[in-house]
Amino acid sequence: MLFNSVAYLIFFPVVLSIYWLAPAKLRRLILLVASYYFYMSWLRIYGLLLFALTAANFAIGLWLSGSEQAKKTILVCGLAVNLGTLCFFKYTGFLLSSAFGCFSALAPDAAPGSMPALNIVLPLGISFFAFEFIHYLTDIYRGHKPITNPVDFALFAAFFPSQIAGPIKRYQDFMHQLAEPSRLASSDIERGVTLLVQGLFKKVALSDNLAPLVQAGFHHAATVGAADAWLSTLAFAWQIYFDFSGYTDMGRGSAILLGFSLPDNFNFPYLAANLSDFWKRWHISLSTWLRDYLYIPLGGARLGRARKHLNLITTMLLGGLWHGAAWHYVVWGAFHGAGLVVCHEYGELVKRSRTLTRFHASFTGMTASTALTFATVLVGWVFFRAETVRQAIELLGHHFQPAPSGQIIHLLWQSPLPAALTLYCLYILLSRRRLAGFEAGWQPALPGVTDKPCSRGQPCSTSATAPELTGIGLAASAARIWKSAVNSVWRNLPVRIAVYAGSFLAAIGFCPTHAEPFIYFQF
């Protein structure tokens, strides 16, 4: 059952109605049953795996909290259970095929003709709930209190709005919300519905319509011209953003309507001023998890500069591997790890140089940083999307090859994408919250450099030039006038109802005939 399916359109309102009409003491159970129903709608056997892992982690958590002497051993056992399950389902094939490949390369005569086929079906969402279990056990080891109610724990593990593709929750936040009495204010209803409609539009109208352009470019990596290569790479950057953030929005919207708040996963990531900033804006729940449960336990930045760089690369490399059992994901992770090292080193350089500090605080500097960061992320995305490292390198090479192009531009003009993107931009301009987020989102955040970054539209106190100040001032005035106009119109509930209904209809209208699966489902 997908969030953008007809089945969910029936499932969710039914669950919502039963949940709020039921007595408060039954609500957790109802939500738990609904979550298992949701998960088992994919494949029934998945439910057994989730149940088994939940039971095991619940028991290990209680054991861990009750034991003082063997805490480390118990934690290691718990990690082994979760990582072992994850590795079995996700990496067995990859490890065996890599080993087979090495063996074939080293002893081609001795190797069998082909690798025996393995039919291990990857359970949906296993990467996400395995990480939630690991976080739970680690935090108990660190002294936090365990969850003693099995229903609460099972609900934390199976909560359907975040079950399949995150965001990766923290159990303390979730339990805090469970402990509070359920309440649904009218503002929550509106926020929930907004996120659902917004997420649906991003997924079906934008991401799914970008998919054919991406497919055409990557499928013909060996023959595309420069224009098509750039177009398909840009298309993927936006496809994955709309796909994943759309899913997150729908999950968060569903959770809000059930009285829960899930962490946001995205904060205008393509406005990041550097790679470190990017990872504070992209898949935030994963990057904070990697920081808290991998980077910091490895030593973080506490053991010297060289060790810090090694820890960064290791963390990002494993983060890449988490995304998929294939070498191109490992390369993507390593690329970002190396990029973060460069970013941190450059940040140190900027700290020591007043010229560079002033430059990066200026509008020109901010723009240049944002553009360079985006270009770097684009290169990474080529490795992420390609099916092999070779295909990625081939496509990257074609970005600068003056071969004839036109197929993807042709596909672009045939698709309803230009109209859908225009509508989305209109929505951002009309939505106060999005507009405010957009303004706040574009702020430079050099690692450890600026304490009080300049924000767009605000005159900078350092070295902004006069033309820049005039331009910024005019833009700021225009933005203020637009904001007040939007606020006055948006204040009316009938206007908002009409816009939500129109957005839902637009999402259905722009939905292509063939729905694409959510990209992050494969992880």
Partner: protein
């Protein structure tokens, strides 16, 4: 305490204010919805969304395309077309014609209508271009009378009601041989099956039966389609809603079982004879083009029956199957999922061209030259 006159007045004012705010809320909501709908219609018009509802009920043939309707097709392939004032996926045609011009009417289903490719890439247009390039004696015009899901009975009626009025010199029936004739009445089939059905009586005469069509027109579905005809024709928002509801209905299982094609063949024979008679009356030549489906497995039994029927009535039959099979073997891609792509249409035009020229007594050049000419047309 008993209510005072002041309390009553205050309550009345509250009630009036409350009614006014409800009315004002409703008015604001309606106004906002109208503005949003207008913006959406504009955006959908730009994007070509909601333009797939293009068939309307037709008392003669069951259904036919809406005249003047703009259609953007993305279900398979891509095209944007404007149906002319006669409900054909074609340019406007004058009823009078130049004495030196030749007209070829092609009837068929979605394979002829070819919404999956742009109009200029359909085999009808490729054929027309090729005829006019290679033949200087007369100006040729190929008229596309194809309509999605039409069966042979509807093709006969469309020829009778519409095509013969344009005085064609040649009529080509594009008949699929990868699917059964679909001449059986399907009472649960919905709009696309609400059409006149034909049977053959004991004396071998063709009998027309409109009862299924009339029953459907009186049904809830039929009344709904009629009541929303303006919206279907002009509103893209309605097109989106309608398309979404149709895709929901498509998940329902279709339990109707057609008779084998061999049992339907007497009706095919009767219809072919009626079409042949109609063409005789209007002094035009009749030709059949067997259209292959996407798979390599053709219904050879049906093709043989078609050959026999055509031979009995002295109708030319074009069989492009060997060419399509050859292309399939050399891994040329001629189909999207179900319908021909641009390459498939070019190949079909190439196969039909010599037979058309022979039928119209036009000079025939070498097949290689004609193939090259069609390829040149495609690359321009």
């Amino acid at each position: 305490m008993p209510a005072t006159r002041l309390d009553t007045k205050y309550d009345t004012r509250i009630a009036v204010r409350s009614r006014r705010s409800t009315v004002s809320f409703a008015c604001e909501l309606v106004a906002s919805l109208i503005v949003v709908a207008a913006v959406l219609e504009g955006i959908f018009l730009w994007a070509g969304i909601g333009e797939q509802e293009y068939l309307k009920p037709d008392s003669a043939t069951g259904y036919s395309p809406m005249p003047g309707k703009r259609v953007t097709w993305r279900q398979e392939g891509f095209s944007q077309s404007l149906f002319n004032s006669q409900g054909m996926r074609d340019r406007e045609i004058a009823s009078d014609r130049d004495a030196r011009s030749l007209r070829i009417a092609i009837l068929g289903d979605s394979y002829v209508e070819s919404l999956q490719v742009q109009q200029e890439d359909s085999f009808c247009q490729v054929l027309e271009k090729e005829l006019n390039t290679t033949c200087r004696q007369a100006h040729c015009r190929v008229l596309n009378y194809g309509v999605s899901a039409y069966n042979l009975g509807q093709m006969y009626l469309r020829l009778k009601e519409l095509a013969v009025k344009m005085h064609p010199d040649l009529v080509i029936l594009g008949l699929r041989i990868d699917q059964s004739p679909q001449l059986d009445a399907n009472p649960r089939g919905g709009f696309l099956f609400a059409r006149p059905t034909f049977t053959v009586d004991a004396q071998g005469n063709l009998r027309r039966d409109d009862s299924l069509m009339q029953r459907w027109n009186q049904s809830w579905d039929g009344k709904r389609i009629k009541a929303t005809s303006w919206l279907r024709e002009h509103s893209r928002i309605w097109g989106v809603i309608s398309q979404s509801l149709s895709s929901l209905n498509m998940t329902k299982k279709n339990t109707f079982v057609e008779r084998p094609y061999t049992e339907q063949w007497p009706v095919v024979d009767g219809l072919l004879a009626a079409i042949e008679q109609l063409c005789d009356q209007h002094h035009c030549t009749l030709m059949i083009a067997a259209l292959p489906g996407p798979g390599a497995e053709h219904n050879l039994g049906q093709l043989n029956l078609l050959r026999r029927s055509a031979s009995k009535l002295n109708i030319s039959l074009v069989d492009p199957l060997p060419a399509f099979d050859e292309a399939l073997r050399s891994k040329r891609n001629l189909f999207f999922t179900w319908h021909m792509n641009e390459a498939g249409h070019r190949l079909l035009a190439q196969q039909i061209l010599p037979v058309v020229k022979a039928s119209l007594h036009l000079p025939v050049v070498s097949p290689a030259a004609e193939t090259q000419s069609i390829r040149d047309t495609a690359t321009k």
